[in-house]
Assembly symmetry: C2
Homo-oligomer: 593 residues x 2
């Protein structure tokens, strides 16, 4: 049975002890990382969240204490009192390596079964086992460091926004379901059978109401929920650094965002992020990088050769340009040896998988470039193309010919794939703002314009006139913050004019009844005096992932869910009593076996 720690009070954390503590009597507590029993000599590596210190037992030890030490196993929890001694054989690998504790009192507070995997080291163990025993996996230094860094990011975030006059205001978790955007998680009501709350996809509506209510600057680290099919980098619940400010336009919000990034990276990683951050319009980002979240840590930009090939005899090129599309290319410098024909064949398959009809290439390994479309080239044509692309001996050029809505994103994705394959992406933190997003996207299926951001986003002043006549031309006061190819944050200035909002809803094809049902109270609220306002939501989980260098969101969330939205440790979701459901006025739909 476990011993009590009564009468002993911890004086130090394990990892904090140094030579300066020599001679001190200390009490430490922690987990046995390793025990080495060499007969008279017993060594124990004791671990707590700060690190490891060595406990020592020898022939001067009280026999009862010595015996207890000899019986310790991995992950036993002990508290030990003893004297800090200088170590005869220092261990330079750990910060406490110059000292050891000669233990005079030892209590086993908790025994431990042999864990299903080793806590020390990062040796690969089946993910499912790790997640089932998450409380053990969380003992690993990597995860402990990650959660500590996440804590520091959140701390620095709050400091920054508080210093800048933002008030943290909590908004409801059980709110009204609005069938907009992603799928809501629903919560059935017991008091109002047949009715449901929704978990928030974001506090968007509430923060806009807070601006109408005059709170001026709002911040919240808010849990958000989306019932989507999970991809590797998604969790059904996630945390958003959610902010909104009044009496501002775009520049004011971006300035606050830049100060935030600067402070958090300085505080947590001691990295200076030069500000102001670069800005790029959506259109430029698409044309140069084929993405609205370009990774700008490397070049390999997309180039247009349409004008050079529009009259060529290569039908694929010619047709693309004739049909209003384009022929574009990226050039992988000095990649001819790394990108073999076989590799290129795989890239052809890859682009076909993401919507392109094919991939043309020039691989300039030897004296003469090997070109997949050379037989169609008239004299000088290929040379002109290569010159435009700056393609030299040793390089590989990859071409896609299609509608722009294909060439750009496909080459954007290819650019990333090739760069990863060539391992040419440098370390670092490349931020940039993407601005001037199109307001509307044409939904081919529904034959209607849909809002690219949300329907409360303000169009740019100079685009107001096209609202009805040419929706595709309207750009929005919307902005994303991109870091190393990841969308870190998204935001906009909101519409505060009820008349304009009405027009916007109409442009989106919403009927009066739909508007009333979905946003009635919000539309009402804007009738009572609203300041110009805007804000953004910053993904805390993704930020933590990048700042810790973690490979998955799971590594920066204490108790993550897996791809099918279940949690392996507690095995939730789970069945509940029939009686509970009856109280909620719901029943399961019986399906045939």
């Amino acid at each position: 049975m476990a011993e009590s720690m009564k009468g002993l009070k911890r004086t130090h954390y394990c990892g904090d002890l140094r030579l300066a503590d020599e001679g001190k009597e200390v009490v430490v507590g922690g987990w046995v990382q390793k025990q080495r029993d060499k007969g008279t000599l017993v060594f124990v590596d004791l671990r707590d969240r700060t690190g490891i210190v060595q406990l020592t037992f020898d022939d001067r030890s009280d026999p009862a204490v010595h015996e207890k030490a000899a019986g310790l196993h991995s992950e036993y929890v002990v508290i030990a009192k003893g004297t800090v001694l200088k170590r005869e054989a220092p261990n330079p690998d750990i910060p406490t390596g110059d000292v050891e504790i000669f233990v005079t009192e030892l209590r086993v507070l908790s025994e431990a079964q042999t864990p299903p995997f080793h806590i020390s080291g990062d040796n690969k163990v089946n993910d499912e086992i790790r997640l089932k025993y998450r409380y053990l996996d969380l003992r690993r230094k990597t995860l402990q460091d990650n959660l500590r860094i996440r804590h520091e990011i959140a701390k620095s975030t709050r400091e920054y926004f508080y210093e800048n006059g933002f008030l943290e205001i909590e908004t409801p978790m059980m709110m009204k379901s609005t069938p907009e955007g992603a799928r809501d998680y629903l919560v059935p009501s017991r008091v109002h059978n047949g009715k449901f709350y929704a978990l928030p996809q974001s506090p968007q509506i509430y923060k806009q109401l807070l601006m109408i209510a005059g709170y001026d600057r709002y911040i919240q680290l808010a849990r958000c929920f989306r019932d989507e099919d999970l991809r590797a980098d998604r969790q059904p619940e996630f945390t958003q650094i959610d902010m909104e400010m009044s009496f501002v336009d775009i520049d004011d919000v971006l300035e606050i965002g830049e100060g935030f990034v600067k402070k958090v990276f300085q505080d947590v990683l001691h990295v200076d992020v030069p500000t102001p951050l670069p800005r790029m319009t959506y259109q430029e980002a698409m044309e140069r990088f084929g993405s609205d979240k370009p990774d700008t840590r490397f070049g390999m930009e997309i180039m247009d050769v349409s004008d050079l090939v529009k009259d060529s005899e290569f039908g694929v090129f010619q047709n693309a340009v004739e049909n209003g599309g384009s022929v574009r290319a990226i050039v992988a410098k000095n990649a001819a040896s790394a990108l073999t024909r076989k590799n290129i064949d795989k890239l052809v398959e890859y682009v076909r998988g993401i919507g392109a009809k094919g991939l043309a290439f020039v691989r300039w390994a030897d004296e003469t470039p090997s070109c997949s479309f050379s037989k169609f080239m008239k004299e000088g044509e290929l040379e002109a193309i290569l010159e435009r692309l700056g393609c030299e001996k040793g390089d590989v050029a990859l071409f896609v010919a299609d509608k722009n809505s294909v060439t750009l994103p496909v080459l954007g994705a290819l650019r990333l794939t090739v760069a990863k394959q060539l391992d040419i992406i440098p370390e670092g933190y490349n931020f940039l703002w993407i601005t001037e997003f199109p307001f509307f996207e044409w939904d081919e299926e529904q034959k209607t314009w849909v809002a690219m951001h949300h329907p409360f986003t303000m169009p740019m002043d100079e685009c107001l006139e096209y609202m009805e006549t040419d929706p595709g031309r309207v750009r929005a006061k919307a902005y994303d913050l991109v870091l190393n190819g990841t969308e870190l944050s998204s935001g906009s200035i909101r519409i505060t004019d009820p008349v304009l909002q009405q027009k916007m809803f109409e442009a989106l094809g919403l009927s009066k009844k739909e508007i009333e049902a979905k946003f009635g109270f919000l539309v009402d609220a804007y009738q009572y005096g609203a300041p110009p306002h805007g804000g953004m939501g910053i993904g805390l989980d993704r930020l933590a992932m990048i700042m810790t260098g973690a490979e998955s969101l799971r590594d920066v969330v204490a108790f993550p869910k897996v791809q099918n939205a279940s949690e392996l440790m507690s095995e939730c979701p789970s069945t509940v009593d029939e009686q509970q459901l009856r109280e909620l006025g719901i029943q399961l739909i019986q399906t045939e076996e």
Copy 2:
């Protein structure tokens, strides 16, 4: 249509301007609190979250600006540029009363309909209207102050716990349903039809797992949910300052809690709370105050006169004592004139309503005390009772005779009621710890022992021996923090010994299967080495309510729900599409009309 603020940037908040700013050109933005049009002279009180400043327009004003000012109405949002002038007729009632802004540029950013109630002042308006237009109610200074104070409490809380080595770690909102304690809010799973998540009643299980995982000191301001029938001072979702620490016993946790209270009251209210805080055992609190959350700002303590009346001829008194109960009383000093016979009759009804058979009294208004049971008193008996009670002329003594489980709580409630009636409760903040709670409560209906805290609570060391033989005698390492009669916080040291935990479950009548289904993974976790640990949860909403002096939780929550758990502004909960339910594998139970 609304004007744009383009080219104007706010330089100051309204409430910040002072005589020292005289002559400065400033830009302010806000809501029109009041407009007074005196022909040539137009005054506008402009309000933002910091306060109010006067805008002035006169015959020197640009006619277009003057005309615009003349057209302003309450709650219009404007931005104004102008010069700070010394006011000829200062207004000593507001901090900016020495100055005014002579406006040279004015833009109406948003017009406003006439609001359904006045924003200024605290004049009583129907609660339902206020809640329907919550975004307008939130413009009132009282609510703005409350939310600002709540923000400051949360800020100070985090500072304190961070300084003391606590890490803020976010735990899941969608977790496993455990049919324990209050009713869970459920979330149906789309991926796993027929299964449900639960919203957390508290992060209890996760924080215990974090201690097992070695995080040592955990804090979280966590949203919690309880699907209970709402009383006036409950919300279905609320925020808990949730903490847990390892390698500690009771004293360590209480010390941290005391430091917390001291700092928050100092930071936010500039009130010094002397520490250490007083402690009182559960038994003492019940006997002296008839409550486990006594308001100790006033006396009127409960006294026992059982020994004096056990042989009296008053059957009610005699029987109570004979049956193992007691006769106890409280004395309201100098209350004989305030507590008329009629008032006392009402108190009799009151105590009957809360479970007592009746209320005996002595009302000593004149020379001779008027006593409801005088005819049963032998010579000297009444005098002895009055002497014991310290009851003097002018006082009223109120008696309850019954089982202790009736006399104590009934007199405890009566004590509060009488004190409020007499208005004798002084201002101030009286904290105390209640300790040594009974571990088990006997559930008369279910004929079983139930855990008074939760089943993971550690019994006191000296009580372990009674676990099986005399459960009613076991006290727990549980503690509540009480402030002015409100339970602010509740916590305990947890069981870390799997053998003891097993015994505890057995004592609570849980079968192996039930244990496994409810707590299987937690029981498992304690097999792998757990440090001694304990913590508590502090109700942030209640704390904010007391610190702001608000009368309801609604006044410290931005978007509260009403008693039937609905939100009047957005009208949630609401119906959802049939299709959404089908995806979740559920359907509504059809009830007959």
